[in-house]
Symmetry: C2
Subunit: 344 residues, 2 copies
């Protein structure tokens, strides 16, 4: 059995989407056991709509719910909230393997650091989504928003975290790592990028292929793209916006004439396959990488499918032994020997 | 007559694409007069392929061509090169209204600053592409790569430059300005973003709507998005990459079955309209904003259509009185009074 804990009250569509997602996940993976935190009455009301294996789901009643607008540093003190209670259980119970929440990103990051804790040696956890790429696989973007300001030691650790995730979560043997920059030449970017470039070039266990541009996230050769949380967030949101616009224009053009409507009837399956290939939500959100156990932060607007994908991804990451892989890689990378400024 | 000077040797496809683009532009705009700089023999050989109004085109023979790999600071000294010769003529001849090049971005920026010169009071020029948006118009992204490191005074000036360009180039009466950030809340981002937010909120003549995210460039409400050149470049390239991937997957899915191929026959026109609406190259590249005359930097890989679009855009910007608009707005914004650090 793999036990995953789910913040059943997190996200705009909770508890409907979280409960429906939980039921879907249980149906797909018979090895899965779920712990749902949240208002018991609300959760049970939703659960009544579905048939599911009751022996693999339990509820932990939590009266409090953290709102998207609550201050993360205040929220972290609310032990009775569905999110923080989930973190406390994740920390205390050895047999709980991972967590999923669609709640506040800020509170998820702060709770992860203060309650669950980081992997020994890791300075800061990073948010890491899996983005569909032109090779039919995914590119891991670390960080996409947990750390607006970064130092080179953090970026180098993101390379370690991303490499371990690519191995443990996606079975990539030697993940190629690129540094997100405003050009591919070695000297490009600000002093932070130039310093990080040098250290990454010398790091053991990291297959660093050099600077990459924004277009390379989806079109390039690398499996892991290292970025500070500020520009990583801008890259991710820019791609999401563009994808949404292209699909929106396609839809409106299809509707604009009889001929194209007929064409749509023949092309429906192809367009559905296209959407599936380009789905940013295939893995249900971003992994909060660097904590002692895998935590998946789903979109606030997550639907049942996204929640189910997040749960499946958390289980798959646990099965892939992510945390030991990070620890091992961090040791072999031996950042101390590369004269990296270790100040926090 | 509007006289535009064209670096006929700039770009991967020169002089074929530049000459063909010049001929297309002359055909479309009967008020246009073009000066082409470059190797006279090469240019004449290309020109022979077309019929065009010879009374509206002249060639200035320049034996030297700047390569994409040449150091910009070295390149700027080569007065006999097609790019720098164009800059010198643009500076000296009052009747030349603007310039187009598909050559080296670095050399174009350095040449612009050192030869042509900046508008009085402007600290740094910025690269500004016009990006298609969900409102059927364009969003201007300033800066997208000329300045990897920025101070708040520069970002505030980018707001002035973008506002003037939106008015003069696209007839938008009160352009809405957003600050590119990793979230929309006021406190978001690093100290640079927080400081810039405050100043933009108080600036006269700028309709500042607050922080915007990467997705808002294509989906949002603002006409101008202000960014440092590093994150602006990453946003632009990320969107380009995503657009390319979506269209690529669409193409391969269409080819993948007989049914979808039939669908394509009915949908061909709709897909063509879609492509036209999403064309990043409709205005032929990025305007180098902040110089004494409009300079358009076309993509290195520009085809004849892009070059023609760039020329048409340069003429249109001149007709819209961009430079006086920048000067006026800069004066009314009165950055000196807003206690902005003016150090360079």
């Amino acid at each position: 059995m793999i036990k995953i804990i789910l913040d059943a009250m997190g996200g705009d569509n909770a508890p409907y989407a979280t409960v429906a997602g939980a039921v879907q996940a249980l149906e797909k993976d018979k090895q899965l056991y779920l712990v749902l935190t949240g208002r018991q009455g609300d959760i049970e009301r939703e659960l009544k709509k579905y048939k599911y294996d009751k022996s693999r789901l339990e509820i932990v009643d939590c009266p409090d719910v953290i709102d998207m607008n609550d201050s993360p540093t205040e929220a972290v003190k609310r032990r009775q909230s569905s999110l923080m209670a989930a973190y406390w259980l994740l920390k205390k119970e050895d047999d709980i393997c991972g967590m999923v929440t669609a709640g506040s990103t800020g509170a998820t990051i702060v709770g992860g650091q203060l309650i669950l804790g980081r992997i020994r040696g890791i300075k800061r956890p990073a948010l890491c989504p899996a983005i569909p790429n032109s090779r039919g696989g995914v590119t891991l973007l670390v960080d996409c928003g947990a750390n607006a300001e970064c130092k080179s030691i953090m970026l180098c650790q993101f390379a370690v975290l991303g490499t371990a995730y690519a191995k443990a979560g996606f079975g990539i043997k030697t993940p190629k790592v690129g540094l997100l920059n405003n050009g591919t030449e070695e000297h490009k970017g600000d002093p932070l990028r130039q310093e990080t470039y040098k250290i990454l070039s010398e790091m053991k266990g990291i297959d660093f292929i050099g600077n990459v541009e924004g277009r390379d996230i989806m079109l390039g050769e690398c499996d892991v793209v290292v970025a500070d949380g500020f520009s990583g967030n801008i890259a991710l949101k820019s791609m999401e916006g563009c994808g949404k616009l292209v699909l929106g224009v396609l839809k409106s053009e299809i509707k604009s004439s009889l001929s194209s409507k007929i064409g749509y009837l023949f092309m429906r399956k192809a367009l559905k396959r296209m959407r599936a290939k380009l789905d940013f939500d295939k893995y249900g959100g971003a992994l909060l990488l660097g904590l002692k156990k895998p935590v998946i932060k789903s979109h606030g607007s997550s639907k049942p499918e996204s929640v189910a994908n997040s749960i499946a991804n958390a289980a798959s990451i646990y099965r892939g032994n992510l945390i030991p892989a990070v620890e091992e890689l961090l040791q072999s990378a031996d950042l101390d020997s590369l004269s990296v400024n270790q100040d926090d």
